[in-house]
């Protein structure tokens, strides 16, 4: 009896151990199963490869997905796309990279938001070697856009989306009032004041008011007041010009904006505009399809576009590269990844993407008539005018941009709430200077 009992115990013990251990092992190995695999394609005998593209939930990703079979046909390389919302993307990619995972072959990133930090952290593979092998492969890029994915001479990405701050407005309302779209910030203020009719649910102006997201679109107001975030490593958030810009932007939203702007990033502000509740709206050109697509916008046929108005400091507007793609430092298929990067930024593909409304980064595509035929005419004009005065960054061009954006956003928030802008700017300037000192 005792013997039988012992045997039973041993069996159950080994089962318990195996089950328990395999659970633990499964939990540990969860992260590696996604790593890319090479498989022989039996029908052609060609090496069939799969690379993984980690991308943002962005129109660019949506537009390139249908083109991927073409790429596979040309090169035999399959592309698996994982996409996430912006913030989750930053978090997801940094965690995967920091864990030294080999699973990211191509990564989509924001050159001005994560780019410098990711580069500093060694997440990217340098593209210099590839570029030097293929002469002229970078000649066609808009120079300022290419500049944003370089550190010194080290190129770590190719820009895929550019944008600039444009003025969205309601053609029907301006026509009815007999007004031309404003060309200066003073005119914008006057018209917003004149057309604002909150009792009937119409507001003169809407834009982002949420702490960090507001900073990039506010930057054009800052530049056109003749100010900037910093100069020669010194924070300049409390210069008279900068404070005037904060007060202007905050005042516009406070006096002529809808309620709740403090919580508005672009989806919320865009919604106010597309529901026909605002006359003017300033935001990135790359978002224009949200306003002109009848399935998303109730004012789709009434939207007009104008270049960003000139301010007291002249004509200046943020025209940065919004998104770029790069190759993961630990990727085991860098050559295949390079093939994809090269293909996705080739003239044919960029043209095809631009035809669906993606504002790309290739000069030749912008210059060609087909490259802009799908855009509303006034939008093209606005973008081309903007590009003349374009400043290639819409937030401080530093590594620790997250903390800097929050500091600047605090002043914007204070201005919207009607608080003391000078005190807020002074405090933010100090915080920002501390961040700059650590760079």
């Amino acid at each position: 009896m005792k013997k039988k009992w012992n045997h039973l115990r041993k069996v159950s013990l080994s089962i318990a151990a195996v089950v328990g251990l395999s659970t633990v092992l499964a939990a540990c190995s969860g992260g590696t199963k996604e790593s890319a695999t090479d498989t022989k394609d039996s029908s052609t005998g060609k090496q069939a490869q799969t690379i993984r593209l980690v991308a943002a939930n962005h129109p660019w990703t949506e537009a390139i997905k249908p083109l991927l079979p073409e790429f596979e046909k040309e090169t035999g390389i399959k592309v698996k796309v994982d996409s996430y919302f912006e913030d989750q993307l930053s978090q997801k990619t940094s965690v995967e990279f920091a864990a030294n995972a080999k699973s990211i072959d191509v990564v989509m990133f924001r050159p001005l938001q994560d780019g410098k930090q990711f580069e500093k952290n060694g997440y990217f593979s340098s593209l210099n070697e590839y570029v030097s092998k293929e002469k002229g492969s970078t000649d066609d890029f808009v120079p300022s856009a290419l500049g944003s994915v370089k550190k010194g001479d080290n190129l770590y990405g190719f820009p895929v989306v550019t944008e600039s701050t444009v003025l969205y407005y309601r053609k029907d309302i301006l026509d009815k009032a007999g007004l031309q779209p404003p060309t200066t910030l003073d005119e914008l203020k006057e018209q917003a004041k004149q057309l604002s009719d909150p009792d009937n649910g119409l507001y003169g102006f809407v834009a982002r008011g949420k702490r960090s997201p507001a900073v990039t679109q506010f930057s054009s107001f800052l530049y056109s007041h003749g100010a900037d975030f910093m100069k020669d490593g010194k924070a300049t958030l409390n210069t008279p010009e900068a404070m005037e810009a904060f007060a202007y932007y905050g005042g516009m939203l406070k006096n002529y904006g809808p309620p709740g702007t403090l919580n508005m990033s672009w989806p919320e502000a865009m919604a106010v505009f597309t529901q026909g509740k605002a006359v003017f709206y300033t935001d990135a050109s790359a978002l224009y399809t949200n306003a002109t697509d009848p399935s998303k916008s109730s004012v789709a046929d009434k939207v007009g576009f104008a270049p960003f108005p000139a301010g007291p400091g002249g004509n200046h507007v943020a025209a940065p590269p919004a998104w770029a793609i790069g190759i993961g430092a630990n990727s085991e298929q860098k050559d295949a990844a390079w093939e994809f990067v090269k293909w996705a930024t080739s003239k044919d593909i960029v043209l095809a993407l631009q035809k669906t409304g993606i504002t790309g980064a290739l000069t030749s595509v912008w210059d060609s008539p087909e490259g802009t035929e799908k855009f509303p005419k006034d939008l093209t004009e606005a973008i081309v005018t903007n590009n003349k005065y374009g400043i290639p960054y819409d937030r401080p061009a530093i590594v620790n941009v997250g903390a800097a954006r929050d500091a600047i956003g605090d002043v914007i928030n204070a201005a919207i709430e009607g608080k003391d802008v000078e005190a807020a700017a002074k405090k933010a300037n100090q915080t920002f200077q501390e961040i700059l000192d650590k760079e």
Partner: protein, 292 residues
């Protein structure tokens, strides 16, 4: 071999469980603890740099940390207090017999089982200042409209309302279970002695329920302290930093500022707070005469 098994079996059987706990709990907490003494930006090039207590020092000098600490406590205490009072009232109502009790009980559980992020998104729409139901409701009552989540003054009360909506049923449920298991004798005695309903509630029901209420409140306290999902889904800590709790601030420090060391220090402080509260739970439950 068999002898070896026999001798060590008390160690071998729990081994998988112990391994699991070690890998999934002890290691992450230990690693966070270690990281809290370092400065690291998740870099693959620059390894973590030992800075001893710098992160903790920086944390206690940080105005935003103090603000987050206050926000966390304010949110937790007010939310749990309101939930408890409402939860007891609800439980008393549900304890009475009425038609359709089963259906009401089931409907009650819905907020609790819904995914918090989805709950957050629904409330974002309810609170939307321009088209949301909350303002339409206020207007119908002739009250001035509010900006709710977009107002620095109202954002915490608005979030507390969401939390109350979501978690009151849980407190009600626990207390209902307590009510059902109360002895009948004291009530009969009280009725014989001519006590009124208020006296019965105040002198008999409430004291008898005390251990149950303790358990419910303290469980909720710990849970409410750690609230992340509904705040992240609605305001991400905004407007400005008005609803930035410790959890949200930790997330911001880690994943937006790339200050992993400081974020870890914050989480360790937070961990200590939750741990202290958990010990309090056990202590108070013991004192109230409930076996743990």
């Amino acid at each position: 071999m068999s002898y070896w098994f026999d001798k060590h079996v008390k160690w071998i059987y729990p081994l998988p469980a112990v391994l699991f706990v070690a890998l999934m709990m002890v290691f992450p907490i230990g690693y966070t603890f270690w990281l809290s003494f370092n400065e690291w930006s998740m870099s693959n090039v620059d390894p973590p740099l030992w800075v001893a207590f710098e992160n903790y020092k920086g944390l206690f000098e940080d105005e935003l940390f103090r603000q987050a600490l206050w926000t966390t406590f304010y949110f937790t205490v007010v939310a749990v207090a309101v939930q408890t009072v409402l939860g007891i009232l609800l439980a008393l109502m549900m304890n009475a017999h009425f038609i359709g009790k089963g259906i009401v009980k089931t409907l009650f559980l819905l907020p609790m089982v819904a995914t918090p992020v989805a709950v957050g998104l629904v409330w974002v729409l309810i609170y939307e200042p321009n088209v949301g139901v909350a303002n339409i409701f206020l207007q119908a009552l002739g009250l001035p409209v509010q900006e709710w989540l977009a107002s620095p003054d109202l954002v915490l009360p608005s979030l507390i309302i969401i939390d109350v909506w979501e978690w009151t049923p849980m407190i009600a449920l626990i207390i209902l279970a307590g009510l059902v298991s109360l002895p009948k004798d004291p009530y009969e005695a009280a009725i014989v002695d001519g006590a009124n309903r208020f006296q019965i509630f105040w002198k008999i029901t409430l004291p008898l329920l005390k251990p149950t209420i303790y358990s419910a409140v303290l469980l909720r306290l710990i849970d409410a302290l750690k609230t992340f999902d509904i705040i992240y889904a609605t305001t991400q800590g905004g407007p400005g930093t008005s609803s930035q709790t410790l959890n949200i601030y930790g997330y911001v420090l880690g994943f937006q500022y790339f200050q992993l060391g400081k974020a870890s220090a914050l989480l360790m402080v937070f961990f200590a707070i939750v741990l202290a509260l958990s010990i309090l739970v056990i202590y108070l439950r013991k004192k109230a005469g409930v076996s743990v």
